[in-house]
């Protein structure tokens, strides 16, 4: 039934769902509010109690916005990497980004590094640069002459990932007293979200997205194969480079504030593709909104399930995403795209 709707209707439908989910999520928590009350608090100035104002505007709202950005970012990066590499089994971490970020963070925790840049904290900065440096290394390892063959890129990513994971394990063994902190970060969590986090990641998030949108059309042609794309007038190597840079920026910005939350970047592009087809001009916004919804709901579950304790959201996404992915595999087998 849904598939008979036009693309415009589909995306509107999904956005309405997003807004509903957002409002409902704002109502859950240590104090339960009615959705109506939540709307009042957000759109009114002053006449509600101070504490409600803080809970909704300073604690819950940034967390939900951040959840949306992280979910959307991972899904977008997933769409781009799957398209460039022309393999549906790829997620944004395939090029070693999570390992890079993880190593950066582990290093900071174990060595007890404390510094800040402008108003940014140590951990997000270490994660951000850890991931970018890793992508840079992987990209240059894969580069032969003036080309970056997709397979080499993938393999270089996997190899560098392994090395970094080993390094990370080593650091963890040395710094056993910080183990819990590290693991908590690695599992991915949005529990300490604040407006500062959003300010930290947003510039890179937006920059990455602008680059991606600029080359979105080429991605459709690259799906036909790199030679076909070139014959249709695409400067494949250039587009590939920018798309990888854009997607890496988005992923790095996201990982820096949330840790490595798995599975979203792998599954959401699939669901979006089933809804609107392989055209990236439609796929990109659909995957972004869907990814946002997916992570907001997952984060709700992470908050509610064992309340007052919080489960790292990465565990929720893996627990729901994994089985769903297996279901998809069994159901469609060949037609993964």
């Amino acid at each position: 039934m849904f598939n008979k709707l036009s693309y415009l209707h589909k995306i509107l439908f999904i956005i309405v769902i997003l807004l509903l989910v957002a409002v409902i999520s704002l109502s859950f928590g240590s104090i339960n509010l009615s959705p109506l009350r939540v709307m009042k608090v957000i759109f009114s100035q002053g006449d509600t109690s101070q504490s409600l104002n803080v809970i909704v505007k300073q604690i819950r709202l940034p967390r939900i916005i951040l959840s949306f950005l992280v979910g959307a970012g991972l899904s977008i990066a997933g769409v781009v990497f799957q398209g460039v590499i022309r393999n549906p089994m790829v997620d944004p971490y395939i090029v070693g980004i999570s390992a890079g970020a993880g190593t950066g963070v582990t290093l900071a925790i174990v060595l007890n590094l404390q510094f800040s840049f402008l108003f940014f904290n140590t951990l997000p900065l270490m994660a951000f640069f850890g991931s970018l440096i890793t992508v840079y290394i992987v990209y240059n390892l894969a580069k032969t002459k003036d080309k970056v063959p997709v397979v080499t890129f993938l393999l270089a990513g996997v190899a560098v990932g392994f090395v970094l994971n080993a390094l990370m394990s080593f650091l963890m063994v040395i710094g056993t007293r910080d183990l819990q902190k590290i693991i908590y970060w690695l599992l991915g969590s949005l529990s300490s979200s604040s407006w500062t986090d959003i300010k930290l990641m947003l510039p890179y998030f937006l920059l990455g997205n602008i680059i991606i949108v600029f080359f979105l059309k080429d991605l459709n042609l690259i799906l036909l194969g790199e030679t076909s794309a070139q014959h249709l007038g695409v400067d494949v190597e250039k587009s590939k480079k920018y798309l990888i840079v854009g997607a890496s920026l988005v992923t790095a910005s996201v990982v820096s504030v949330s840790g490595s939350i798995g599975f979203i970047g792998l599954i959401v592009p699939h669901i979006a593709r089933m809804l609107v087809g392989p055209d990236h001009k439609k796929l990109y916004p659909t995957a972004a909104v869907l990814g946002g919804i997916f992570l907001i709901i997952s984060d709700d579950l992470a908050r509610i399930l064992l309340s007052p304790m919080e489960i790292p959201v990465g565990i929720i996404t893996a627990l729901t995403g994994g089985p769903y992915f297996i279901y998809l595999l069994r159901k469609t087998k060949k037609e993964i795209w």
């Binding site: 022309r86 459709n220 799906l223 014959h231 249709l232 007038g233 695409v234 087809g277 795209w337």
Partner: protein, 422 residues
């Protein structure tokens, strides 16, 4: 339109293309043929800028190919690849629309003009009825038409095709080539098509380029390129050329391995072959097919018969290039002849240089000797000496005359049976 000057290309140390030089005129349809590994596809990839030649120049409309951006190039040149499989669920319409990419801006906005061109191309290629189908649900022939439609909307002046009918049924093969021919004639596209199907492409193109080992072996009108000599030289196989009554174009037919070979699977039968200058090639292939033991001699190294015998791994009595036959090799030759059950003499001319190859037969008695092609007096360049020796040989030995390959086969079969049941 397109001009190639001295193109060389290699993958690593292996030279794939050597001294490729040709030009394609406006509105011309050139076919490129050649055996597997002769560099056809590599040549096409060099022309479509997928690969850069190591040296040489490629001009497209007087500008160097490398001076075109990919986008500009896509407006001038469209490529129909060998493998047209698309792994994604794009609709036929969307896929054809992708051909408009070089005319669209960054955001891929579709203009009226784009829609009109796509509609026209889909009508021309007769794919309107699949418009909304997924490309994955089409047959190979239908998909090929979609890809050609996509090439048409690029509005190219030059159309490159790599094995456009490689995996298609015969009705689609015709259909696709008819279509290409229409594009060439009605839409004024120049066409350069690679094909391993000599016969198909020969019926359609204006000129042919025959590649062998990365070099242009021959080039020109179809009749001049598709000859028995060229084809058997390049493909190393025996063919015959007929003419297609509908197009009056040459048509290559394969000559299958000779009948009767099944009887002679044993190699306890030996044949000595006296030949030279390429007259023995056919006979060698017959003997090879029959799997008998073959010895050859005396042959000069570098002689085309020597090359063929070498290729077939025959036992050869050889001497340096252009050297006269010396006594030592005559003796060697005599030994080999002694062992042979049968001696075959090819239709080679005899002069003073190779007369010893015949003279040696005079030393034998009751040997079975087959003379190929009885046009003997025309082959005598020894003022009658050869004919005289021949008469002497005939007196002492059993001599057969054969005129065709088939006669030779029959004779060999009979001889083999005789020996086997003795």
């Amino acid at each position: 339109m397109l001009k190639l000057e001295n193109i060389e290309f290699s993958y690593g140390d292996i030279k794939i293309l050597k001294e490729i030089d040709f030009h394609l005129n406006k509105n011309e349809f050139i076919g490129i043929i050649g055996p597997n590994g002769s560099g056809k596809s590599t040549l096409l990839k060099n022309i479509s800028k997928l690969l850069n030649p190591d040296s040489g120049y490629i001009y497209l409309d007087k500008n160097l190919l490398n001076d075109y951006s990919f986008k500009e190039l896509a407006k001038k040149m469209a490529v129909v690849p060998q493998d047209t499989k698309v792994n994604f669920n794009f609709s036929v319409y969307d896929l054809v629309m992708m051909g408009r990419n070089p005319y669209q801006d960054r955001w891929g906005r579709i203009q009226k003009e784009d829609k009109r061109k796509v509609k026209e191309a889909m009508e021309l290629t007769d794919i309107v009825k699949f418009k909304d189908k997924s490309i994955q649900n089409l047959s190979g022939g239908e998909r090929q038409r979609v890809i050609i439609a996509r090439a048409i909307v690029q509005e190219p002046e030059l159309l490159l095709l790599d094995e456009p009918t490689a995996s298609l049924d015969i009705n689609y093969q015709r259909n696709i080539f008819d279509l290409i021919s229409d594009l060439n004639e009605k839409l004024d596209m120049s066409v350069l098509a690679v094909s391993h199907d000599l016969n198909l492409i020969s019926q359609y193109c204006d000129r042919l380029i025959l590649l062998k080992d990365g070099k242009i072996h021959s080039m020109g009108q179809v009749d001049d390129v598709i000859t028995k000599k060229n084809i058997s030289e390049v493909y190393n196989t025996e063919v015959d050329i007929k003419f297609n009554p509908f197009t009056e174009r040459p048509y290559v037919i394969i000559v299958p391995r000779r009948k009767g070979n099944s009887k002679m699977i044993n190699n306890d039968f030996s044949v000595h072959l006296i030949c030279g200058g390429g007259t023995g090639k056919n006979i060698m292939n017959i003997l090879n097919d029959l799997k008998v033991n073959v010895t050859c001699g005396v042959l000069n190294r570098g002689d085309s018969d020597w090359e063929e015998a070498k290729r077939l791994n025959f036992d050869i009595v050889e001497i340096p290039p252009f050297a006269p036959i010396d006594k030592k090799s005559v003796a060697k030759n005599e030994k080999k002849i002694k062992k042979a059950d049968l001696v075959v003499v090819s239709g080679t001319p005899f002069g003073w240089g190779n007369l010893d190859n015949i003279k040696v037969l005079n030393n034998f008695k009751e040997k079975e000797i087959v003379f190929f092609d009885d046009n003997l007096d025309k082959r005598d360049f020894t003022d009658g000496e050869f004919t005289k020796i021949l008469a002497e040989i005939e007196e002492k030995n059993t001599v057969y005359e054969v005129n065709t390959d088939k006669e030779l086969c029959n004779l060999l079969n009979t001889k083999y049976e005789e020996i086997k049941y003795d």
